[in-house]
Symmetry: C2
Subunit: 352 residues, 2 copies
Amino acid sequence: MISDYQLSERKRSLLNAIIKDYITHGEPLGSRTLCKRHDFKLSPATIRNEMAELEDAGLLVQPHTSAGRVPSDKGYRFFVDHLMESYIPTLEEKQFVRRLEQTSKAIDAVLFQAIRILSDATQAIAVAETPHIRANPVQTLNLMAVDEESMVLSLTYSGNIRRQSLIRLSQPIYSEILSLLTNYLNEQLHDNVSLDELFHRIVTCPLEREIQYYKSIILDMVSEIYAQTQREEKIYMSGTSHLLKEPEFHTTENAYPILQFLEQDQFVHQLFKRLNGTVQTQRSDVYCLIGYENYYQELKNCSFVATPYFIDTKAIGMIGILGPTRMDYPKVMGLLQTVANNLTQTLTRLFS
Amino acid sequence: MISDYQLSERKRSLLNAIIKDYITHGEPLGSRTLCKRHDFKLSPATIRNEMAELEDAGLLVQPHTSAGRVPSDKGYRFFVDHLMESYIPTLEEKQFVRRLEQTSKAIDAVLFQAIRILSDATQAIAVAETPHIRANPVQTLNLMAVDEESMVLSLTYSGNIRRQSLIRLSQPIYSEILSLLTNYLNEQLHDNVSLDELFHRIVTCPLEREIQYYKSIILDMVSEIYAQTQREEKIYMSGTSHLLKEPEFHTTENAYPILQFLEQDQFVHQLFKRLNGTVQTQRSDVYCLIGYENYYQELKNCSFVATPYFIDTKAIGMIGILGPTRMDYPKVMGLLQTVANNLTQTLTRLFS
DNA sequence: TATTGGCACTCTCGATAATAAAGTGCTAAA
DNA sequence: TTTAGCACTTTATTATCGAGAGTGCCAATA
């Protein structure tokens, strides 16, 4: 395990300096440059020796003999886990984040605003899942006719989260039937059943007598509700163009696969899913995948930092940032955390 | 005006060949290559002379002396207006487009699917506005309580387009008041008033006596409805990564400004707005902006092709394609037209 | 008169070579 | 243990050169 490394204080500060410098300048660091930029009381020669040892430890790599050193993925990991100090947002950035509170109500709009702010502030790509609400236990369910062909579905999820949605039906339905169905569906909702499970039951199990007659209506309704909730599970993304500004993606061959990857929502969903169970930064619930840890070949030169957002105390989705491996981790993680907290507050205020 | 040019039949077919070749190969065309690829009964020398004249006419340009020729924006314009034959979709592409009919109901989902299909089929960037519904005259308006804090707003627009939306209020409201408000608002809707105008009236004009008391509720409601309808006006986009595959955007400096431009919804909205009143292809309502016609510096190496989509006979939004100036116009315009027609059919079927 | 072949000229592109810059590793001295 | 010095390596940059593709013009041709 990486955290087992016992590095001397000098090596740590050296590594810290190298990574920070590399993050800002994007060029391999040589002993001389390093010596000029920082005031270690050491000569380049000593630094050279230390750097050679850091390379032996796998924390640095040389792009080629007689180039400077660059942090390896392992190096970044060490930095993230042991070296970096938490980031303090500037006043301007705080101001920036506060815009979130001024957004209007709908959950999508809030999310959208959040990733906009995040990508602007970090100059990287921000992505967010919309809340996966279907896996949540439903407490009560209510159907209400609007006119012959549409109705409102009100759901109260555990944690007192309430959502309504407007459902259009392909055939007319009368309010008596609607209340019958409401009762029936509510009966099915005893022990913490989620929408997913409820629908599964309805489709697979035989229905009770009195309901049997309306099966086609129920199925129609269910499939519409299902489609609608599924359609709601989207990926929002902002700031893809920022990637092209980074020197490592200046040639299109490097940038293209990443952008193409990101355009496919299902991959991004998977990316978020994969985070559960992976390494997590100790001080918070910010997940961080560095370079090759990313599993997807397309992202091998990227790091992905993500964190869940909540309504009340229930995690309902994730928000993250994708940038070059050489990203400013403290800043990105700090801002991500701040925005996610704000998001949680805003959503909790509005929807609990 | 460009269409005044009287080109000899030979010049026309030569220009046609040059543009088509350039579209597929992406490299300047020389007289010799041209002669080899096509069976004009002419020698390279003659072709050279003709090309020189086409250049004098401003239809071709030379990247530098002694390179081949490349179509100018004016050349593309002539091609689009006078030379190109309409594109016949392949069986596969027809199959492709048919997927649109299988999409589920919500208007956004249909739109989203449409641009997905379009960008896949054309290998370019597809963009669409969501319908701008607020400018449409409203015929009837209905409010209906769902619970204390939310209600359904049903609107019937001219052309019998009906839409419902769920509104959350920041304060409780009782159904008696709701029906009062419904009546009041409906009275305001006499002569073809759109939502925009209605809201403007409410905010600026003094309210009648009996209603006055509920002003804060009305304003609250109006602002929520307004926010909600405005929020609905989004830009959908698909296939941005396709741009990076084109040789002219292989170096990031060229691609970056375009992607950044596209990330700002307000610019894309403007882009669509600007189309009204500009040149239009005669054979259909496909608009086409070539190179510098695009007004925006960022898009000077791009062409933008767009067409409205309808519900019934009412244009409610636009859908378009952005690609390099060297795009395959017949194909792009043909597929755009086909998809837009399908979109119109699907939407009309669902929402009229 | 329109078309063609020939030819000198121009410009780009790719390869090669030379040079400068930056960095390393090693050794010996402090 | 640290440092200074030095030879060596590698990349990036620049210059040079020739090949290739294309042009324009002129004189010959049909």
